[in-house]
Symmetry: C2
Subunit: 404 residues, 2 copies
């Protein structure tokens, strides 16, 4: 198969973890072991940081049994990092790649990781080092360009749908206003998945707010008031990334941490939920107002994953290796959806620069006119990705015969 | 079996939901249907509020299929309430009980619900109304007196253990200080369950803080510093109910809501996690500090329950009905553990007043000397209650051969 560039392989993981990111890792390792032109298989600990610090592990020494268990274990088994390599970093990395005769490099991550892969590819080209560099997609945010959806999203969507399903029952048990803050810095795909929680028409979430649409206190309070008076309760799903009309994230006014890719840290704090709770308490006469911030559980909860997502995550890892050994190329493995009613995907190699840097948002057709809910189009899009949800039972509530 | 007091039955749910509270409901309904001396089976919506407002449903009309699905559905299928009946309320309730010829009353809930049941029992006695009143235990807090553990706890413990298991992997992937706020107003049983997440010695939670032991900023900061320098990261499980040396909850300084039983509302806000994050950021040189508040997911997440817990929750419901029809008595069904190595339970009827009002805390033997972790005794106690946890796989991390 393909040409015969012989050498060693290196693989690493980067960015926020997902529940299926190790599926991609194991898919790639397992595939690489089948091909003689790949000699050593190195794992770099904590992304490119491990290359720079020469913290490398020998992945040929892992048994199939271990790898199989690791595949179903959440979060980056090799450790992760949030780091964009500067010019000096690139020099160090390149020296290491040459030292270890790395000819195949695989970076599992989001758009920032694709950018890193692209930078490394360009650096290698400058010094005429023969090197094949691949990005393997993962992100719960589902915001990669060139992809119908990204590995990691389906499982996070399933977790969010299940959590909101439970919270809807909780909110029915003890009625009030409940706000759930859901991950997604710039893209509303994950908060949108809360809509999958609905079983009956009256089920929450009754309102959904996206980072793509300007958030105003006025509309929020009015929406909550309407929903509360209609249902006697109100369950609201809010993206952590909701922003004002100038595009400034509401939470960013209270949070200061920024990573080296320039991303403001929105997760890991309850500040946005508490802020919105206070708005409702102040503006409306509702005594019971609560907020939960789902936080890191959305990307790390063990045992809850979408079967489709796990399979696809494994497949993009496997395919990256097959592309790499089949010829002189670089790229990102993208997930495309087949047309037709039955769900199916195919994969395509796309240039790294097309996935790097920019991200995508929810298409207009997925958000309703009032900008406070999803459309049927979104439900049809997301349902097969999240897969089967728990079966919920409701009493029929037949009123008892009145006595005089 | 027993005497032949004929009449109608009423059942209701009260307090915070659990994932298995409907097991108790369905256990009681299913048992009641077997006994001819119970005629109508009324469900009161939202606890005693439904009795007062005459919002009653006919539970004989529910099919076995519906009931089976409801049993595995989290949160109170009949709705819940947090309400302590005053003298006037009791009058109204008693009138309703007589009007509907209710001779058997079952209240599923925590110690506040046992208190309510006891108040109703006494009110009925005063007017010589023949009436059998039972409390069916549930609480994720595990704080009922007279019980080895309470239905609802095992499943919540499983959720907490799974969440912390995932968060430990997340914290390994992207090292830093991570704080998880876990439910439990006065009792540390649930935060203690985070210890079940550990697979290897280095796994988090590295520190656990209980509401039973005075929380000081000084010890907290020192503990975190030590753990962080030992592990290069630090995962901390903190009870929402941690209190200062005077017993005042740390979070209560920021939260104002109080229910009619006099309980301060600690859940549904991220304030405590953010406060502790700020402490770590200010006092230690750690750049990455995050806090998640697990919130209502701990008591309402569908599909995650402990098998043992589900079975026992069904059994206490079933047994309450059997006690009720077997003779002139009242009480609370309590769960006791058999002695011996193999896990097993038996049930006992205890007087309502023994379970009402007061709650229990973690025994001293479950908390370590430093007051920042559990003991082996606790692990042995809690493990069979939470049941099986997901299988986690770790790479062996065999260092790669160094090159020169």
């Amino acid at each position: 198969m393909g040409d015969k560039l012989k050498g060693n392989m290196m693989i690493a993981q980067s960015g926020g973890p997902t529940v299926v990111i190790n599926q991609s890792l194991v898919g790639a390792i397992t595939e690489a072991r089948k091909h003689g032109q790949i000699k050593n298989i190195y794992g770099s600990l904590n992304g490119i940081k491990g290359v720079m610090d020469e913290k490398l592990v020998d992945l040929r020494k892992e048994t199939a049994g271990t790898l199989n268990r690791v595949a179903f274990t959440p979060c980056a088994a090799l450790g992760s990092v949030r780091k964009k390599p500067g010019a000096q970093d690139c020099e160090i990395i390149l020296r290491m790649l040459q030292k270890y005769d790395i000819r195949y490099f695989f970076y599992i991550g989001g758009n920032d990781s694709a950018e890193t892969a692209n930078i490394l590819k360009e650096s290698a080209k400058e010094v005429n080092y023969e090197f094949r560099c691949f990005h393997i997609p993962k992100t719960i945010d589902n915001d990669l360009l060139e992809n119908d959806h990204t590995p990691g999203y389906g499982s996070a969507a399933k977790f969010v749908a299940m959590a909101v399903m439970g919270d809807n029952l909780d909110n029915m048990s003890l009625p009030g206003v409940k706000i759930d803050i859901i991950m997604g810095r710039h893209a509303g795909f994950l908060v949108a998945a809360s809509a999958l929680a609905r079983v009956r028409e009256t089920d929450g979430p009754h309102l959904i707010y996206f980072p793509e649409k300007p958030f105003t206190k006025e509309q929020f309070v009015r929406d909550v008031e309407n929903a509360y008076s209609k249902h006697g309760r109100c369950l609201i799903a809010v993206s952590e990334g909701i922003a004002d009309e100038k595009g400034e994230a509401i939470a960013s006014k209270f949070i200061k941490e920024v990573d080296t890719h320039g991303n403001i840290q929105l997760s890991g704090s309850g500040v946005l939920g508490d802020l919105l709770s206070d708005m409702v308490r102040q503006e409306l006469k509702v005594s019971r107002v609560r907020a939960d911030t789902f936080g890191y559980l959305q990307r790390s909860f063990p045992g809850i994953f979408s079967d489709v997502d796990a399979k696809e995550a494994c497949e993009v890892g496997r395919l990256a290796v097959r592309y790499a050994i089949s010829g002189n190329m670089n790229g990102s493995v993208s997930v495309k959806r087949k047309s037709g009613k039955k769900y199916g995907v195919y994969f395509e190699l796309v240039p790294l620069e097309k996935v790097a840097r920019n991200t995508r948002s929810m298409p207009e057709r997925f958000i309703n006119k009032q900008c406070n809910d999803v459309t049927v189009d979104f439900i049809n899009y997301a349902k097969p990705l999240a897969g089967k949800l728990p079966d919920i039972g409701f009493l029929k509530y037949r009123p008892a015969m009145r006595r005089e």
